[in-house]
């Protein structure tokens, strides 16, 4: 039975590789546009500076506008309307600075790791979106879009893991009009190694996920048969390291989050809502 499965697997692998190679031949290769690529590269380099300069100008512009709006005795009906019903500023909506929550932390091989979530408010127009993408870039975050227009009206969130001096790694991220609201025993998770260099293949030791607001307990199952249980309620700390817990995240009211780290010597198998 398992020999059959193995044979089927090999056949699938060979055949899929064959079909892919065949399909890939359909593309017209053409001549590499070397000069165009280099021109494009130079433009990109120049644009980085342009974006940084534009961001500074926009910020200066907003400050000016706020100062004018705040002047007393203006005598302008439209401006008074604005004062009576001030639209919340992009800053208040966390468009340029995310709401951040530490979901968990710990240590591995003597180095600390942190799992955080950053939730960015929805930009209302392309100007705000442009500035938001520039801010995300400064944070080292890469959203799932490539044009500012694609984040207008959308909340963006990033769950990241930072280990030691490595740069933060994006684990789960998306830009959505409405945050997914899991229910019942729904669970969305991702697993990853804590230490890419040391954990080796299939060395996923960390699992991060979201669950319904009503979920009270998540059980993480490890390959050696042991489990870790994350629960709602006060987080218990041991030497300043939190035990696995289900926690809310600022700016993300639709779900709660959990993080489990596998004990030394074993790796992630699965996780589910158990209560």
């Amino acid at each position: 039975m398992s020999a059959d499965r193995e044979r089927n697997h090999d056949m699938t692998r060979t055949d899929i590789a064959f079909l892919l190679a065949d399909a890939a031949d359909e593309v017209e290769i053409g001549i590499a546009p070397v000069q165009a690529v280099m021109r494009g590269g130079r433009r990109r380099r120049a644009r980085r500076w342009a974006v940084a300069a534009a961001t500074t100008l926009v910020l200066a512009g907003s400050t000016g506008a706020l100062a004018v709006t705040g002047l007393p005795g203006d005598g302008h009906g439209d401006r008074r309307t604005n004062v009576a019903h001030p639209p919340s500023s992009p800053e208040a909506r966390h468009v340029y600075e995310p709401q951040t929550t530490e979901l968990s932390r710990g240590t591995h091989k003597g180095k600390p790791w942190y799992v955080d979530i950053q939730v960015w408010g929805a930009p209302r127009d392309e100007g705000e979106a442009n500035q938001q993408l520039a801010s995300m870039d400064e944070w080292g975050l890469h959203p799932a879009v490539d044009k500012p227009a694609q984040v207008v009206g959308k909340i963006s969130y990033f769950v990241t893991m930072k280990y030691g001096s490595d740069s933060p790694q994006q684990i789960l991220f998306d830009s959505v009009k409405k945050l997914d609201r899991p229910s019942g025993t729904d669970l969305e998770s991702a697993s990853l190694p804590l230490d890419k260099a040391g954990d080796g293949p299939a060395g996923d030791r960390l699992v991060v996920g979201s669950v319904a607001k009503t979920a009270r307990e998540v059980t993480c199952y490890w390959k050696n048969g042991t489990t870790s249980v994350a629960r709602t309620g006060p987080v218990i700390y041991n030497h300043n390291i939190p035990a696995p817990a289900i926690v809310p995240a600022e700016g993300y009211p639709a779900a709660n989050w959990f993080v489990c780290a596998a004990p030394e010597g074993t790796t992630y198998q699965t996780a589910e809502v158990t209560k």
Partner: protein
């Protein structure tokens, strides 16, 4: 100083010329469309050019290029993969699900495979292309996709399972490949 820059540019040029065909094929499998593939490779190489000083002297520039391409693909196609990839009919509406009765898709294996690939979520498509076309190990694929080996395994397995579920393709696969 100027000479060093010139040497770097020449090195980059020969890198582009040498890798262009392979990158185009990979991009074609990822995007399913000639012009989209050209755009993807070109924008990838532009980004590589910006960082060439660092990339060119790295041990494995290929790995960097793959990572940039997969990131660019994920950014561009994650949200609207199906809309971007699926052939559009006259009304401009996107075909979300393959028409299993479509004779063309059964007659042409390439077309069937490209259509089937087009229906996979971006991450599954990337995992399948990197594992089975680029023939990368799971670890290399994980590096390129910026995710864990477990995620690669699961995306590749789901992708393959979906490809096998496509009637036209399943026949081809069970008959041991095309021709």
């Amino acid at each position: 100083m100027g000479d060093r820059k010139k040497a770097r540019d020449e090195e980059f040029q020969s890198f582009v010329v040498g890798r262009w065909p392979r990158l185009m094929r990979t991009a074609f499998l990822l995007t399913g469309e000639q012009h989209a593939a050209e755009d993807l490779v070109q924008s990838t190489l532009e980004q590589v050019y910006v960082a060439w000083r660092r990339v060119g002297s790295a041990d494995d520039p290929e790995a960097y290029v793959r990572r940039v391409m997969i990131n660019a693909h994920a950014r561009k196609h994650r949200r609207r993969l199906k809309e971007f990839l699926a052939p559009k009919d006259d009304s401009g509406l996107v075909r979300e699900v393959a028409d299993t009765g479509d004779r063309m898709s059964q007659a042409d294996d390439r077309s069937a495979l490209l259509k089937a690939l087009a229906q996979l979520p971006a991450r599954q498509r990337e995992a399948v292309v990197l594992r089975y076309w680029e023939d990368l190990t799971e670890t290399q694929t994980a590096e390129a996709m910026g995710c864990s080996v477990g995620t690669v395994k699961s995306n590749a397995a789901k992708g393959i399972a979906k490809l096998r579920a496509i009637p036209g393709l399943a026949e081809t696969v069970t008959q041991g490949g095309r021709k």
